[in-house]
Amino acid sequence: MLSLRDLSKSFGGVVAVDRVTLEVRAGEVHALIGPNGAGKTTLIHQVSGSLPADTGQILFEERDITRLAAHERVRAGLARSYQVTSLFRRFSVLDNLALAVQARSGSSFSFWRPLAAERALFDEARDIAARINLTRVDIPAASLSHGEQRALEVGLALATRPKLVLLDEPMAGMGLEESKRMIDLVRRVRESVTVLLVEHDMDAVFRLADRISVMVNGRLIATGAPEAIRRNEEVRRAYLGDELAA
């Protein structure tokens, strides 16, 4: 569904992403793991279109999207969430979601009809809020708890009705209980959407992923089923260490 071919990105002399070739299959949860500074987030930025690729190609459903603008990729069905929560903080939860629904339903170059009269937008926003377990929809996004903000972060991506969603460390900064809820949420998401998941929480990764790719120093050193990755010598040496050897 998503193929990266020889994708590279350098910042000055530093190679952040080094000829990465990766295939995300339709319907799977594909986890991308690696130590800090491995280039995972840079790769996500390239796939979502917020950073241009130096070389290489990005194909989405067999279509070359390497030169497509970020907003056009969203239209094509490729949405993302952010590692550092990025919401419309002063807007209510419902307005946040309705805004994302609005982006893909009809033109927003509309200057006359009151937004408040567009019931369909808000009905759908309510549905999504229910899907991500947010009940307090009329309060500003900024006053949600950290866990709720992370859920809304994912909800905003879902509201664009993506075919594939890039989740950049959805569990970042979460406690045990919140992480569990996020794992449940990702499980529900994957029923209808392909997921490329960047995550540091190994417990979550091994619970959720169908396949795992490991990135170290900008390079992809292994891709495979969780068990194979767990046993892979190179991965252990480079990253997992002894914590998973037991």
Partner: protein, 311 residues
């Protein structure tokens, strides 16, 4: 309720002044209404769109100059001159916006300022149209239909009606899909892109609409003062409009009009000799102190403070 009251006062104002024998104030009020429109246009980009344009005088001045130049060439009909003024201002906003919106933050402020100053020097060097001295208008635009705008009474109501129309349209726009998107871009541009909005296009259109409205205000101000000079395009003019918006309330619907009214009234009060005598020459000082107080104690501007009180 409150808006009805404002409308009533605005509608009755010339009659009241006439009854009091103070017709001068009708003309002053007309000036306030025109600046209210210009400030509202700036508030659209600055307050709602989060684009800090420091060159709004370019569009205001362009609108004014177009009307004056057309009049000098013998075209005085409002039905031609005003739409041309609006169109030229919109076109200027399209060109300036298309380039400036590729930058952000301080660079955006500086580049809009630079463009406006360039326009200023263009008009200063236009010797055919007055150059440094500017261009005076032989009379107000002609409207036909047996009505004359040279009557200050009629003129006041024309300006009031146009301001009401502009504010009504802005209100519709801000509460429609478009308004929500430009506010969302102000709040979080990255996220707006990530949910599928072509940010640049929305910002550019917002900038053009704002420029067009400022152009209309410019067409009105030249009719008000019968004179178009380079000072209309000077950066001090851009600064004045910005002060009006900040005073009234950035991103507050009534911010522009309230700021324009308060600033012009303060200027009028403190620059008139009866109050300060010989010190009236330095009217900027008390006005500056008041502005400072507003920024410190009512950071959301006067409109924000009013809204808080009525809650």
């Amino acid at each position: 309720m409150r808006i009805l009251l404002v409308a009533l006062v605005a509608a009755a104002f010339p009659w009241a002044m006439h009854a009091l024998g103070q017709d001068f104030y009708t003309s002053f009020a007309t000036r306030v209404l025109i600046y209210a429109m210009a400030a509202a246009s700036l508030n659209l980009v600055l307050g709602y769109g989060g684009m800090v344009s420091f060159g709004h005088a370019a569009f205001f001045g362009a609108g004014a100059y177009i009307v004056a130049i057309l009049a000098a060439e013998g075209i005085t009909s409002l039905w031609i001159a005003w739409p041309v003024a609006v169109a030229v201002a919109a076109l200027a906003a399209l060109v300036i916006g298309a380039i400036s919106l590729r930058t952000r933050g301080v660079y955006f402020i500086m580049i809009t300022l630079a463009f406006a100053q360039m326009m200023y020097y263009v008009f200063v060097s236009l010797k055919a149209y007055g150059g440094d001295d500017g261009l005076s208008l032989p009379g107000r635009s002609s409207i036909g239909l047996g009505v004359s705008l040279s009557n200050d009474f009629v003129w006041y109501y024309i300006v009031l009606a146009l301001l009401a129309l502009v504010l009504f349209l802005l209100h519709r726009l801000l509460h429609a899909r478009f308004g929500r998107v430009i506010e969302a871009i102000r709040e979080n541009e990255t996220r707006a892109t990530a949910i599928g909005y072509p940010v640049y296009r929305y910002q550019l259109l917002c900038f053009v609409i704002s420029g067009a409205v400022a152009g209309l205000a410019g067409a009105l101000i030249v009719n008000q003062t019968s004179y178009a000079g380079p000072t209309l395009l000077h950066w001090v003019q851009s600064g004045t409009l910005m002060i009006m918006v900040i005073l009234g309330g950035v991103g507050r619907f009534w911010g522009g009009p309230i700021g324009a009214a308060v600033l012009l009234v303060l200027e009028e009060v403190f620059s008139a000799s009866p109050l300060l005598g010989p010190y009236a020459l330095h009217w900027q000082l008390p006005v500056g102190l008041i502005l400072l107080a507003v920024v410190l104690f009512a950071p959301q501007g006067l409109a924000g403070a009013l809204a808080k009180r009525s809650q």
